[in-house]
């Protein structure tokens, strides 16, 4: 006998009425606090404070302390000159692939596998990932994540998911790979397709956020707003189009408790190790392919072939074409390149930088996430997700171009890094 969702809940209520006896109950402070954090009137402001804490910790830990504080100095002052010395006598193509631009004085702009590749993976992304998963593990173990899921449950139901989808969504802000894996508890194929598609398209990873935070800090809030709107609008539309069920989920909401250091460390290590073993090889592979495309001149050919779309449809300067192409392989590298264009003498408006960063965020998942999407979904569903992605790139590109034509954000972009 098959029951509808409403019939199933009705049955649950009848059984509980017949079997559960409720006695007098005096809630503890922990119970009352738990209640305060799931009620929208108090829970939403509390969630804003938690997200603020999350973000402020992330920026200072990853950006100020590790990347800017130590890794930039280590990589630019020691690693790059050492590599340039070691590879000095090698053939030009070897030097270009492994070290990159011989005149570069910093790892970020060198574009070599051992310079940009290692710097991005270890110097930028790793601190971001560690900061992110450290806070995430603490919030999970304290018992706040299930409450956040309850708080956003109604909102997520509008797009065919339920509150639990907040977990893979937030996980994806660190790295999309564990985010996609975390969609497994979702019950139906429809929900998993929905969640994976939305994660792949609209959720930027820690690498990209780290670079955005360094390159375009003033625009990052607008970029997130544009992506959040897309996440819910597209989710709503896909939910209406794609057949299948979106059933309820029963989730354990444990009481608030103090986290244990051992558990936090194990979770942090497990997730960071997954990033190092699954995502980093793809980061390096992306750098190799980008370097080969530049060396062989293929990048210029592809860029000039696609420039009518990039300049005509998206309204971006011709010079962004190569960065946009490179973004298929390394989004973080591409965002950094866009951020540096003005420093290189290219005239680009604030709104064009915003448009480019938003399009880079949505137009293709990184290679590691794409490989995992094929594994987690079937080919048909993966193609469906890519179709959503292609449509969204053109819709977003066109809408943003039209908004840009009104003159908003028309001032010339001034990068932080000159």
């Amino acid at each position: 006998m098959e029951l509808t969702v409403d019939e199933r809940w009705g049955l649950v209520e009848r059984i509980s009425k017949e079997t559960v006896e409720l006695g007098a109950y005096e809630p503890s402070l922990k119970d009352a606090l738990a209640d305060v954090t799931v009620r929208p009137a108090t829970g939403i402001p509390f969630a804003i404070a938690v997200v603020y804490g999350f973000w402020a910790f992330f920026c200072e830990f990853a950006g100020t302390l590790f990347t800017d504080g130590f890794f930039v100095k280590l990589f630019d002052g020691h690693w790059l000159p050492w590599l340039q010395g070691v590879f000095a006598g090698t053939p030009a193509w070897v030097f270009n692939i492994f070290v990159g631009d011989p005149l570069a004085d910093n790892c970020f702009e060198a574009f070599g596998v051992l310079t940009s590749g290692i710097f991005l993976a270890i110097g930028v992304v790793l601190p971001a990932i560690v900061a992110f998963y450290l806070i995430f593990a603490i919030l999970e173990d304290v018992g706040y994540m299930p409450r956040l899921a309850v708080l956003v449950d109604t909102l997520f139901h509008k797009i065919g998911l339920h509150g639990f989808a907040i977990v893979p969504t937030i996980l994806s802000l660190g790295c999309n790979v564990p985010g996609v894996t975390a969609t497994r508890p979702l019950e139906t194929r429809k929900q998993r397709f929905l969640a994976i598609t939305l994660l792949g398209v609209f959720v930027p990873c820690g690498a990209q956020i780290g670079i955005m935070e360094g390159m375009v800090p003033g625009l990052i809030g607008w970029v997130f707003l544009a992506l959040a709107i897309g996440y819910f609008v597209v989710g709503f539309i896909i939910n209406k189009i794609v057949p299948g069920e979106s059933p309820e989920i029963l989730m354990d909401v444990p009481p608030y408790q103090l986290p244990t250091a051992r558990n936090i460390w194990r979770k942090l290590w497990m997730r960071t190790a997954k990033f190092l073993t699954v995502a980093v090889p793809f980061v390096l592979l992306g750098c190799v392919i980008v370097a080969i495309l530049y060396i062989t001149g293929a990048m210029d050919a592809i860029a000039s072939g696609l420039s009518p779309v990039i300049t005509g449809v998206f309204g971006l300067p011709q010079d962004t074409a190569a960065a946009m192409i490179a973004g298929f392989l390394r989004k973080d590298l591409a965002v950094g390149t866009i951020g540096m264009l003005a420093a290189g003498g290219v005239t680009i408006t604030v709104f064009q930088v915003f448009t480019a960063v938003v399009l880079l965020s949505i137009y293709f998942p990184c290679l590691a996430t794409f490989a995992l999407m094929i594994k987690e979904l079937n080919w048909k569903e993966t193609l469906g997700a890519l179709a959503v992605l292609m449509v969204m790139v053109f819709v977003y590109g066109t809408i943003l171009h039209l908004i840009g034509m009104t003159g908003i954000g028309g001032g010339t972009w001034v990068p932080l890094v000159e």
């Binding site: 005096e26 009352a32 209640d35 305060v36 402001p45 804003i48 603020y52 804490g53 302390l65 800090p217």
Partner: protein, 152 residues
Amino acid sequence: MNNKAAKFCSIYFGIFGAIVLIFGIAGFVVMGAYGTEGVTWGPLEMSGMFLPWRAIILVAAGAMYLSSVGNFGDIRQLAKSLAASIMIWIVAGMWIWAGIAGSIPGGEEGGWFIPPGEELVGLWTAIPPAVFLAAFSLAIIYPIRSRRKAAA
């Protein structure tokens, strides 16, 4: 918690909630007038990329304190005040953490680390309202303890 303690807490957190709310609104006013560059007024500073976020959180925390003052003896009202205090601790804690994180590396020209104490002194001359407020919000410990004592 006895009636006297509940009444005292009602008055304390009522006044404190109003002050928190005023600082939150002031954050918005400063944001509107000076942008994220903000202002420094004696030992008090309101500035930075996160200024609007801090303002939102302080306004919400102030409102939560004010809504908890009626019947403070009720555990739910106490929990509301505790949640508001946690919100202030998060803002203050992150400001302190930012100061510490910025005070460890030696900078572009210096060594790997800043000599201990050198940078902290300069960084902490002006303090955002949340840090001052965090000290007064610690008063939330009193009703929690007196409740525990009463239950024991």
